[in-house]
Structure formats: structure tokens, C-alpha cells
Amino acid sequence: MKKNNAEEQKTVVLESGIEVKPVYGPEDTKDLNFEGKIGHPGEYPFTRGIHPLMYRKRPWTMRQYSGFGTPKETNERFIWLLEQGQTALNVAFDLPTQLGLDSDDSFAEEEVGRVGMAIDTLEDLEEAFVDIPIDKISTALTINPVASVLLAMYLVVAEKQGIPWDQVRGTTQNDILKEYIGRGTWIFPVEPSIRLIGDMVEFCSRNVPKFNPFSVCGYHIRESGATPIQEMAYAFEIAITYIQEVLSRGLKIDDFAGRIAFNFDIHGNIWEQVAKFRAGRRLWAKIIKERFGAKNPRSMTLRMIAGGGGGGLTVQQPENNIVRGAYYALISALSGTQTMALCSYDEAYTIPSKKAALISLRTMQILADEMGLKDTVDPLGGSYYIEWLTDQMEKKIVECMQKVEDMGGIVKAVQEGHIQREVSHQAYLREKKIQSGEIPKIGVNKYVMAEERTEIELHPFNTKVAEEQKKKLGRIKAERNNAGVEEALIGLKEAAQTEENVMPHMLKAVKSYATLGEITKVLKEVFGEFKEPVGL
């Protein structure tokens, strides 16, 4: 009996610093007025979801992250995933591609085709999308500092497939500020990087209206150690920075805000995550409406991809990650996500094997078709606890955003390394709590199995990819019109040096089969490189 009492007395505090009571009732939500704070799905402030019917009308988009080796191998995997019922694509690029290096660059050694597919020229992206109707399948390109190059390549692939640009649907991740905080694929300094994002948004709003030119990633910020509150607050501050850049070019908020996308993390306490997203939707709607004066309700909707949470997975007892993935999918669905991508159970080791990718896809399909998640919108809405927690989370996110603004804004805080230090210190504290058992992790600090050498099937790495890519690159360089390449690169350089939008020149450069590395080199000459603040 004594133990039970102690259990009851023990305080429960969420990662967000909010203390949870054992029971909630009407008195906890009496100050929440329905119309102002909650409202109907599809209506301002969108707390319950951004569409009136949500999954009743259409289930979430299923978009597993995939790509490896050569573009041809990746194309085969894409087609196979689509045959299995996946409804969109999410492209993984290898690290040289993500950092603007060609496959024959000495710094790219050992990395070609390893964590994603290798792209050197337009020809590679053409091969990756053979037999894939890109007017019907939306594609997310997980690419950041060189997103403008990949967008240009993707648009030329569309052109070659005979698809008009106004039918092209997809997203470039293109969130450079979070790359400086976590994930680490940055090249250029902060200001010119933000300018490139502005160029892309401006270009897309005029020419590719169904394309999302950037997706702000709270995800990687959280993976780097941030709390759920910081994840949302920093993501919103980053999104606001990009919005201000675009507004400074004379566009109106309603010209582009409806194409802003977010990518969020899901691991952690289930109720805290659901409340995080409900609070996030409400707050974002308010920011866009009140601060930026949007009139179109679509501009005010927080559209997101969720489902991943690599930080919650474990290398120990890896099959447990299948179960975690299923819960993450459930949380994502209860949170009203538009698109779902789960981390595969082997994520802690490698990029997904075919088997792991299929289990993730089936997890989402089982949830959608067997469990009733499509039946009704925001089934947790109205719960005393969830509504109370949503309100608490919103207040905390607002406070955290204010803290960033007090530091002089997110750009300054990132340039000076404050945000990076804050999240890495939190990652350290969290790791200490896991090691001490204060944060329970099954298979890590609880129910540990002495002899566990679970050998899981890993995605194989093919060392021949680099050779194949280099050979191809050599052939393209020999065949292309080098004078045309030179001319396009000079045009790009001149645009980069002025305030002219680089996108038309980028298109010309990729069409001439200039390589990703050549284009990046030109931009580096103009912009320079980011100097990472490394103080711990």
C-alpha cells in the first residue's frame, strides 16, 4: 500500500516542463471558449485539423524516405514502393549530392550512393523518374543548400515528360536554418542561403503554383535535443524568417503562405505530441492572420509531414522499433498530419532495407484501413486533458518564441551558435537521464537482455556505384556542349552577384548538363562558405 501511495504522489512532468495531474475534469477547461480556441475542423483557428473532413475524405499521404545507389536502382525502388500502395515519394540523396559535390570529388570518396542516391547532372534525375508520372505523384526532395539546383532539375524532368509546370506537385525540404542547428548539410553562409530560398518561393509562386518550395523542419531540431516546445517555437521563428524574406520582394502573404509546409517529430509522450500539433495549428493560424494580415484561410493552415522520430528508436532489440513505429503512426494520425513517413526499424543502423520499408508502409495501411482512424476528425478533441494540455503547450511555445526574439532573432541566434548550444546541452542532459534510468527506455535501461546480438538484415552498400557514376559523369562532360555550360554558369554567377532571381539561370545551367558540383562551385565563389560556431 505504501508503494502505491508513493506512486500516486510522484509528480509527472512532461519534457515541455508541464506538470500533469492524475485526473482532469470540466474545471480545467472552463476558460476555453469553443469558438475562439477550438472551433470546427477546417475553420480558423484550425485547432482540430485543417480540413473539414480530414481522413474521412482522404487518408494521409504515405511517403517513405527512400533512395540509394544509382538513380536507376532508386527508380526501381520508387516503382516498387508505388506498386505496394505508397501514394507519394520522398527522395533520399547521398551526402555528396546534399553538399553539392560531384561523385568524382575527392571529398565525396566512400560516400557516393551510400545514404541516398547520387545525382551529378540532370541525366541522373531523369533516370530516377523514368515511368513515374510526376503530375500524379507528388515528390518530396530531401535537399537543402542546393535545393534550387534540384528544383531546376526536377522542373526540366517535368518539361521533358511533357508535364506543364502548373501541374507539378512536390516539396523541396530547403530549410537551411535547421541545417545549421542539426543535420549539418550546409554550404553557404546564412544570408545568401536565405536569399536562395526567397528566389525559389518567388519563382514557384509565379510559375509552379502547386509546389511547396520549403518545408520547415522542427524534426531535426528535436532530433538534436530540443524539447517539443522548442521544436515548434524554433520552426515557427524559422518560417517567419523565410516569410519576411519573401515579403521583402513585394509578394503578398496570401500569394505563398498556403504553400508553406512543416516537418515535425513524433517521438516522446503521446498526449504531449498530440497537444503540440493542435497548439501548433492554432498558433500558426493566429500568426499568419494577425501578424501578417492574411485573408485567405488556406494561408493560415499548418500543413505537415509527421511520423518520424529516429531519436526514440534504439539499436538494442531493434525489432522493438517496429512497435514504436506503429505507435508513432497512431500519434501522427491522432494529430491530424497531412503526410506520414515512418522511421523504419533499422533506421538506427542504416537506410531502410526493402523489408523494413515495407513494414513501415504496411503499418500505415493497417492503421488507415483496419483501425478506424479515418472515421471521424480529431477524436481526442474535447478531452479535458487534451484541451487543457493544448492550451498549456500553446502558451509555452509563445514564451519560447519570445525568448528567441529577445536574443535578436533566430538568424542571429544560429549564427552565434546559441541555439546549437542550447539543444546540444539538452541532448546531453537527456542522455544522462537515459543512462541513469530516469528516462525509461525499454531494452536500453529496462528489460535489458544480456546476450543480444540481433543481426538484422542491413541495406547493402555497393562500392561500384561510385565507379558507375564517375564513368557516366566523364561521358556527359565529353558529350555536352561545354561552351553552353560555360555561358550558363557565367549567367548564374552574374545573377548571384546581383539581386536578380537565380532560378532562370539555374534552369539554363542544368539544361546544359552543368554538374551539381560546377553549379555549387560558382555559388561558393560568390557567397563564400558558412563558418560553424563550434564552441561547446
Binding site: 538506427a348 546540444s424 542522455e431 546480438r453 560553424e532
Partner: protein, 125 residues
């Protein structure tokens, strides 16, 4: 000691967490930041006269990068430096890394105290 991120991999949480733990344990720690070449890392180790070099790799390129590091250290007459590696290191590669001369392998999920104890025992601090 120096904690370094060689190559293109951007996963730096592990490196920073270990660096903070070692700092807390009273060691002097330099963190290089991302995208360092092996040459740059060895240069830092030489200039700062460190006892220990720790590298962290998650992309899968750990074997090639470790080999390159060990060769470079030998060529520079720094073979006596303690070398530790962390990150996404499969069990099957541990013996190869040891053959290259890596002193300690601490994959994802390693205990921070084990890393600290390992260094203290060998350095005799």
C-alpha cells in the same frame, strides 16, 4: 583531447554529447565542427598537442575514414595518440577497426562513464 567529425556526415549530437560528458569529467576538449578532412583533424591534434583523438561517424564510411586517419597519424609520427571512434559502427567492423590501430570503439548506445573510464585508465589521469 579533440572530438572530430570527419567527412560529410552531419550527425553531430553524439559527438557533442560525448564532448560535453568528457568536459564535465574534467578533460580539456576541443570540438572541430562538421565536414573536417582527416588532414585538418590531424593538424588540430598536432597543434593542440592532444592525448586523445575521438572521431564520430554515422554515415557508414567509418572503415575508410579510420584507415585514412591511422595512416596519417603514422606518417606524421603521431602513432602514440589514443584514437577512439563512435557513431553508427556495426559489431562486425569492430575487429577491423582494432586491426587498423583504433584503441576504443564506442558505438551508439555506449555508456558515457565507460568512455570516461577508458580514457582515464589509459592516460593515467
Amino acid at each position: 583531447m579533440v572530438i572530430a567529425k570527419p567527412g560529410l556526415d552531419g550527425h553531430d549530437v553524439g559527438a557533442k554529447v560525448v564532448a560535453l560528458a568528457l568536459k564535465d569529467a574534467g578533460m580539456e576538449v576541443i570540438y572541430t565542427g562538421l565536414h573536417r578532412t582527416i588532414e585538418e583533424i590531424v593538424k588540430t591534434a598536432l597543434e593542440e598537442d592532444v592525448d586523445v583523438i575521438g572521431i564520430s561517424i554515422y554515415s557508414g564510411a567509418h572503415l575508410a575514414l579510420s584507415k585514412k586517419l591511422m595512416d596519417r597519424l603514422k606518417n606524421m609520427g603521431l602513432a602514440d595518440k589514443m584514437v577512439l571512434i563512435g557513431g553508427n559502427i556495426p559489431q562486425k567492423d569492430v575487429s577491423t577497426l582494432q586491426e587498423y590501430g583504433v584503441d576504443g570503439v564506442f558505438p551508439v548506445g555506449s555508456n558515457l562513464d565507460d568512455i570516461i573510464d577508458f580514457i582515464k585508465k589509459r592516460i593515467g589521469a
